[in-house]
């Protein structure tokens, strides 16, 4: 009796969750994201790896053939062409970054109606890639197209950009640069807002102007924007698909394919359904992307370390 009458001096017994709240809560918040990321990204990556070891038409029995698909890729000329085209995309698509920078510098001034000009320059990025592809396909048409007509004015014969295996890929990249430049431009425009006017002032006092001012004062301050522009452009180049599908359908005779398009053709198109082979191409594409992704992650990690 007496015992129960005494006031309870011990602290109330807390639940397991209460005791571990600090450690557990972040994981709880992360759980949905982790779950979906695992189900839709991580697990499929490993599935692709495993499918690429099989000969499978998507319907019947899958037959294990080890690295057979990869061995076939080594001798597949269409694969080689796609790989080279991917490289062309990577190199030339990066032109969007300097182009975007210069348009941004050009537009970064206060004149009446500058907002309208900015939105006009940004316009191509808003358009669907399919529309961009169609417009450029018409632009390039050998006889009726605007390009051929413009060249005719200057006295050049009609050119068939998309029908010529050597030029077609460059033609598509040029079409892709149009919206991508707009994207880089907007990144740089926001970056330019953050440029410190005092530094510019100081540099001016020290006699910097023109290219030197740009190179030593402005561009270093635009580093975050450049980094993002670089990331989106590289990834955009590697996943180029819509434009190719719309403008040439991989042709003429497969000379404008890139890895993603070739994978689609082999695995999912009307005449494809070699799932294993398609998966093998996807794995190669993934490994290429991995190089860039690891670099991006590493440099972001390094920045965070430095920031602390």
């Amino acid at each position: 009796m007496t015992v129960t009458a005494l006031p309870d001096t011990e602290p109330p017994k807390r639940g397991w969750y209460k005791r571990n709240e600090i450690a557990v809560t972040p994981w709880l918040f992360l759980a949905p994201a982790i779950l979906f990321f695992a189900v839709y990204v991580v697990i499929p990556i490993f599935q692709s790896f495993s499918i690429s070891l099989y000969d499978w038409d998507g319907l019947g029995q899958a037959e294990y053939i080890g690295l057979g698909n990869y061995a076939e890729l080594m001798n597949d000329r269409a694969f080689e062409v796609s790989l080279w085209n991917n490289l062309k995309w990577l190199v030339f698509y990066l032109l969007a970054i300097p182009a975007g920078l210069f348009i941004a510098l050009f537009l970064n001034q206060t004149v009446t109606g500058i907002r309208i000009y900015k939105s006009l320059f940004f316009f191509p990025f808003v358009l669907s890639q399919v529309v961009v592809g169609l417009v450029f396909a018409w632009f390039y048409l050998p006889n009726e197209g605007l390009l051929s007509n413009m060249l005719a004015l200057v006295g050049f014969g009609p050119v068939n950009v998309l029908g010529d295996p050597t030029w077609a890929t460059y033609g598509i990249i040029a079409a892709g640069l149009w919206p991508q430049t707009a994207y880089c431009m907007i990144l740089y425009l926001t970056g330019l807002n953050a440029v410190d006017p005092e530094q510019v002032e100081a540099a001016r006092l020290d006699g910097a102007k023109g290219w030197k001012m740009l190179w030593y004062v402005i561009i270093p301050q635009l580093k975050p924007a450049t980094f993002i522009a670089f990331v989106v452009t590289i990834i955009g180049a590697l996943r180029s698909f819509d434009l190719i599908s719309i403008m040439t359908n991989g042709g003429p005779f497969g000379q404008t394919r890139v890895l993603s398009f070739y994978m689609f053709e082999k695995a999912l198109s009307e005449y494809g359904f070699r799932m294993g082979y398609g998966a093998a191409i996807a794995v190669v594409l993934f490994l290429i992307m991995l190089v860039f992704i690891s670099y991006f992650l590493w440099s972001m990690y390094r920045d965070e370390q430095g920031g602390r």
């Binding site: 053709e265 005449y271 359904f273």
Partner: protein, 420 residues
């Protein structure tokens, strides 16, 4: 117009009468799920009207029709046949159905083909529906291929329909001399080039050789294959085809013919409708059979057949079989293939052909002037992978004929892998 209406009304009443007689025997009930790839407006309306007529005959049956975009259907069929199978689905004949037959996803309907009504009337397409000695579906329409040409242009230059390759070339030379291309073609999507290969190969070496090739028994580097390409090259070197054809789809190649820049088009009968819509009258367009090349080789034609199948996982196979019987019946065949509907050829020999000069010529050609045999089409006779590589090679050959050796060596590599 009036006559077809009455005819269809008559057929309808006939069908109705037949059905009431039938319905007493065994009434169909439950659900019937039908998947169609006839997504273009005219075929879609035709099929939906046909299904309505079937529904009226079987009021107890709850019919559910799903129309899927024709291109999307080609990839979706793999999913729905395995996962959520309808009771009836459209597809294509010959090698195109082989993957599903081999995977056990199509129902064997040989029993239908044993019924006299079908056995007697559908004999001409039985071969295309047969794999391993069994039939796996029924056809519902087919159409001829051949050369559609501008009759007014031919008349203007004093040309007549060619019967031999030499006449074909001399006609072509005359046209070229007058600044008109002989043939329009758009090879952006590759298959149109397959049509040219089909005909040149069928005419150079005949149906049996063509089918041996389709079965993978002839190397692509064989001299006989080279002979076919040599014939083709004669036309290419003449400049017979429109320039830059690798940029155009088959529809985008039509204006060349409409504007009189090109005189003819090797195409399926479906090209007639857009030519008419573009303003060409029936006096301006006409049709001829692809001329003979090697003397003594029997004429053979391409006539792609569209089909209905019962998926192996279907739930109401009894109703599905009845629907297949209904589709191939003479009355329905007459209705759905007439000029107002599909505008193609009926598969039932007792059905009547619509009063259309292209259909009549096509029917006459296929029934009496194609003794060699009837092929489906390059990408339906050859296995998909071989067809894809080959058609790409044909396109390259048409642009750069000098690459032939390289192309054939590549195709031979693919052949060795595909048919192992």
């Amino acid at each position: 117009m009036r006559s077809t209406l009455t005819a269809s009304a008559l057929a309808l009443t006939a069908a109705f009468a037949a059905s009431t007689a039938f319905a007493q025997g065994d009434a169909l009930s439950g659900d019937l799920k039908i998947f169609l790839d006839t997504s273009n407006p005219a075929p879609r309306a035709t099929m939906e009207a046909m299904i309505d007529r079937f529904g009226e005959m079987h009021p107890e049956l709850n019919i559910e029709t799903t129309v899927i975009d024709r291109e999307a259907y080609k990839t979706q069929i793999r999913n729905f046949l395995t996962a959520d199978a309808p009771d009836v689905a459209t597809w294509y004949a010959a090698n195109r159905m082989r993957p599903y037959v081999e995977a056990g996803l199509f129902e064997d309907v040989s029993d239908l083909w044993a019924e006299p009504e079908i056995a007697d009337n559908l004999a001409s397409t039985k071969g295309a529906m047969t794999i391993d000695g069994k039939q796996w579906g029924v056809p519902y329409t087919y159409y001829q291929w051949g050369i559609y040409y501008r009759k007014d242009l031919y008349d203007q230059y004093g040309l007549s329909e060619p019967a031999t390759f030499d006449e074909m070339k001399s006609n072509c030379q005359t046209l070229l001399d007058n600044g008109v291309k002989c043939y329009t073609i758009g090879t952006k999507f590759l298959w149109t080039a397959g049509g040219w290969f089909d005909y040149l190969n069928l005419r150079t070496h005949g149906y049996d050789f063509h089918m041996e090739m389709a079965a993978g028994e002839v190397p692509w580097t064989d001299d006989r294959v080279r002979q076919t390409f040599a014939n083709w090259r004669e036309l290419i070197d003449m400049g017979a085809y429109v320039d830059n054809h690798q940029n155009y789809s088959w529809q985008e190649a039509l204006p060349f013919m409409v504007n009189g820049d090109a005189a003819a088009y090797l195409m399926g009968n479906f090209a007639v409708a857009p030519l008419r819509e573009a303003g060409l009258s029936d006096d301006q367009i006409d049709f001829y059979q692809f001329p003979a090349i090697t003397e003594g080789v029997e004429m053979a034609e391409d006539a792609p057949t569209d089909t209905f199948h019962i998926p192996a996982n279907a739930s109401n196979k009894e109703a599905a079989r009845e629907f297949l019987r209904f589709v191939v019946s003479a009355e329905e065949q007459t209705i759905i293939n007439n000029g107002e509907n599909l505008g193609q050829l009926p598969v039932n020999a007792s059905a009547s052909i619509d009063d259309d000069k292209f259909l009549e010529q096509g029917f006459a050609m296929l029934s009496s002037n194609s003794p060699g045999g009837v092929a489906q089409f390059f990408d339906r006779d050859f296995p998909a992978e071989m067809a894809a590589e080959a058609m790409q090679g044909f396109q390259e050959f048409m642009v750069f004929p000098d690459n032939l050796d390289d192309i054939l060596a590549r195709l031979e590599q693919v052949r060795e892998r595909v048919y192992k």
